[in-house]
């Protein structure tokens, strides 16, 4: 089995759209967390909003102008990743699209249900309904890109991003497809904001990220960012910390690496209580962007790909004082949740 390489990236974030803006903000520590402006809220609240993003600037396709924000974010990120990989059209049966998602099109869902309750059956819109289904963003992207291979929406917490990559890799390993587009997207919504705020889970964020992964032998001559060296995922609700320890160990094992081989860690979760992790530089985009669940993990993966490519860690995301190597070969990204879900992935220099 050949290596699976990452050939295209597309971030749509509160700190910038496209890899240049994203990297620049991460390097300089620009924060995207500001007061909420998208809808009226009961009080002032800070979020990582996507602002000043015009769909028409990125997509010349009128069919999706009325699509939910989450679908539009999905389309823009997918398009950016494809263009970054130098592929105008990647559709057909040998391409997969795997989307990781947590909440879906909450604003259309809320609007549809609200109209049903307040105004009655005759006032509801079929467009709001069809675009509120969890698989609508991925379906819209498949329509736009002409993807006839497997198109899947995986639902989960932050781990959905790594699960989506694992499934995409399996489809490549099994020879079902030649390339897989992995996308994650979220949109801010007043109901979910309220719930998470009451749970002490803020600031939230929105946006999307996409990566294109391919078999190394099919992209000869190209210059990929990195390859996927290992991955692991587990659920252990009775002991979330053990779940994370296990996926880190398994991930290293699948990559045939040791802890000391890891040059940089990106995480949305605290470091495991093991001293040796303190010697590895660790970073997170969360303080700059806010938490967008699976999307945040994909932003970490996108940033890690850029770190490997440039052998530079952006100063604005570093979270500890460990010494930074001048050669970044292996980056580990992990995520874990209170419910016992944990996932990890290692990206390595080609």
């Amino acid at each position: 089995m050949g290596k699976i390489v990452l050939t295209g990236i597309g971030p749509v974030t509160p700190i910038g759209t496209g890899k240049e803006q994203f990297w620049n903000a991460a390097e300089n520590g620009f924060s995207g967390i500001k007061s909420l402006t998208k809808f009226p809220f009961t009080h002032v609240i800070s979020c990582g909003e996507i602002r000043d993003l015009s769909f028409d600037d990125y997509m010349n396709d009128r069919r999706f102008r009325r699509a939910a924000s989450i679908s539009q974010y999905t389309l823009i990120a997918s398009s950016l990743a494809m263009n970054d990989a130098g592929k105008k059209m990647i559709g057909g049966y040998k391409t997969a699209l795997i989307q990781g998602i947590t909440h879906g099109a909450m604003n259309y869902t809320q609007a549809f249900h609200g109209a049903l309750i307040k105004e009655g059956v005759d006032s509801i819109s079929p467009i709001l309904f069809s675009d509120s289904t969890l698989n609508a963003p991925a379906s819209n992207a498949s329509i736009y890109l002409g993807i006839n291979g497997p198109v899947h929406t995986l639902v989960g917490g932050a781990d959905a991003a790594i699960k989506a990559i694992i499934l995409a890799c399996q489809l490549l390993d099994d020879g079902i497809v030649d390339r897989s587009l992995v996308v994650c997207a979220e949109e801010l919504n007043e109901l979910s904001l309220s719930c998470y705020e009451r749970l002490g889970f803020t600031p939230l964020s929105e946006g999307s990220g996409a990566i294109l992964i391919e078999n190394e032998e099919t992209v000869k001559g190209a210059s990929p960012y990195c390859y996927i060296a290992g991955s692991a995922s587990e659920c252990n609700p009775s002991n979330p910390d053990i779940a994370l320890d296990t996926v880190i160990s398994t991930c290293l094992e699948t990559a045939s690496l040791k802890v000391q081989d890891i040059d940089f860690i990106m995480s949305d979760y605290h470091l495991p209580a093991k001293a040796f992790f303190n010697n590895i530089p660790a970073g997170s985009i969360l303080p700059l962007t806010g938490n967008a669940f699976a999307v945040t993990v994909l932003w970490h993966i996108i940033l890690s790909a850029l770190v490997i490519k440039s052998s530079t860690i952006p100063r604005g995301v570093i979270q500890n004082k460990a010494m930074v190597s001048n050669q970044i070969k292996n980056v580990m990204i992990w995520t874990a949740g209170k419910e016992g879900t944990a996932s990890a992935i290692i990206l390595s220099k080609v």
Partner: protein, 403 residues
């Protein structure tokens, strides 16, 4: 070399009731379990009927306080327990990591509806957070891990009406490729007004009888329920000394990339999924087609076209039926429940009827099973097609040593 994947346990709950015996008995007798909806006020809708699971108690849940959970979790845990018991997993699997591969369209939508109603009534800050704890569509899978203390991982597919067929296909590939020895797979969905109103707004619900492939078909009828299959690598099942119900031999999938709610009318893309599954299975002769057969004009004519492309002239001969007129369209749960009925048709050597079929449609020139028939069914294909253009086909066959 690819490993053989067998089915060692099944669990099912539909409007027919709970358990495989009840579901098979009512399916083979052509009994309709479609009634006027009681879980919400359907009087304001033109269509008022659905396949609701009735007389179901969730009080058997072990570790989780059942009142806190959404009905979706209740249905899923109930059927998983039945499937695990059937496959004697808890007793004999021990610490083996399992893959839980589940499909759903809605997750805990009933909880989401309740929460939103409280928000509108009491205000954003006073609606009970406990109502949304089980809303997200992956919470039900986590609840399975809590209830049964599985070791392993889960994956939740939400691909509209192909969700559980995709979940089964993923489980099949995972076991076949050696990533897991045991997979718990299937799907579920509940009857919710949100989804009922949505399909109503799309004018996809029939106010009459659901009659797939009939010339006078005018829409689908919604249902609810869950279906779980235990897929296991053959040698692993043999070592555990458990009974084998059948074998999964093929899976294919494709995506229309055509329209959010309408299928690609020529059926060319859907036929790719069917052909892929057939090729995957080594092109066995198919004895029965368990159709997606929703009863909508577009789906049934598209499915007919897809079958014609995939099977050629044989498409007119192979017996076809849809069980949706009896139990309704279970959305994310339909692929699993229909795979289970397909397996039962192999076990019982009989074909369930496509009830309410009266007037042949020249556009759907298939061999529709009007009345239940005894037949030596060895290999079955079960189709699922969904919103957003997802297509999936599953092939199951009787289990034979050496093949």
């Amino acid at each position: 070399m690819k490993r053989r994947v067998v089915v060692t346990g099944i669990g099912i709950i539909t409007a027919h009731g709970s358990g495989r015996e009840t579901n098979w008995a009512k399916s083979i007798s052509g009994e309709s379990s479609i009634h006027e909806i009681t879980s919400f006020d359907s009087s304001k809708y033109k269509a008022k009927y659905g396949g609701e699971v009735r007389n179901f108690s969730a009080a058997t849940l072990d570790k989780l306080h059942y009142k806190r959970l959404d009905r979706a979790s209740h249905l899923l845990i109930h059927t998983t327990r039945e499937a695990l018991s059937d496959a004697q997993i808890i007793e004999r699997t021990g610490d083996v990591p399992v893959l839980v591969s589940i499909g759903t369209t809605l997750g805990g939508m009933l909880s989401g509806e309740s929460f939103h109603k409280e928000v509108l009534k009491k205000g954003l800050d006073r609606a009970r957070l406990s109502l949304v704890s089980d809303y997200l569509a992956h919470c039900q899978a986590i609840n399975l891990f809590k209830e049964f203390e599985f070791k392993g991982d889960f994956i939740v597919f939400s691909n509209a009406c192909t969700s559980s067929a995709n979940a089964i296909g993923h489980a099949f590939n995972s076991v076949r490729q050696g990533r897991y020895d045991v997979a718990i797979c299937g799907g579920y969905d509940t009857m919710s007004e949100f989804i009922f109103a949505g399909f109503s707004s799309l004018m996809a619900l029939t106010p009459h009888l659901c009659r797939p492939f009939d010339k006078n078909r005018d829409g689908l009828v919604l249902g609810e329920g869950a279906g779980i299959l235990i897929l296991e690598e053959l040698e692993h099942a043999v070592k555990r000394n458990v009974g084998v119900l059948g074998e999964m031999v093929g899976y294919g999938e494709s995506t229309d990339a055509y329209h959010m709610t309408s299928p690609e009318p020529l059926g060319e893309i859907a036929s790719f999924a069917i052909t892929k599954a057939l090729t995957d299975a080594g092109n066995p002769p198919i004895d029965y087609i368990n159709a997606h057969g929703t009863g909508t004009r577009y789906n049934d004519s598209m499915e007919t076209n897809a079958l014609r492309i995939a099977f050629g002239e044989r498409a007119k001969e192979i017996p076809v039926s849809s069980i949706k007129p009896m139990i309704g369209h279970l959305l994310g749960g339909s692929g699993a429940v229909e795979a289970i009925i397909s397996l039962l048709s192999i076990i019982h050597k009989a074909l369930p009827p496509n009830i309410n079929y009266e007037t042949p449609d020249p556009e759907c020139g298939l061999n529709i099973i009007v009345e239940a028939a005894a037949q030596d069914v060895k290999t079955v294909i079960s189709n699922s097609f969904g919103f957003g253009g997802s297509n999936a086909s599953i092939i199951l066959r009787d289990f034979q040593w050496g093949k």
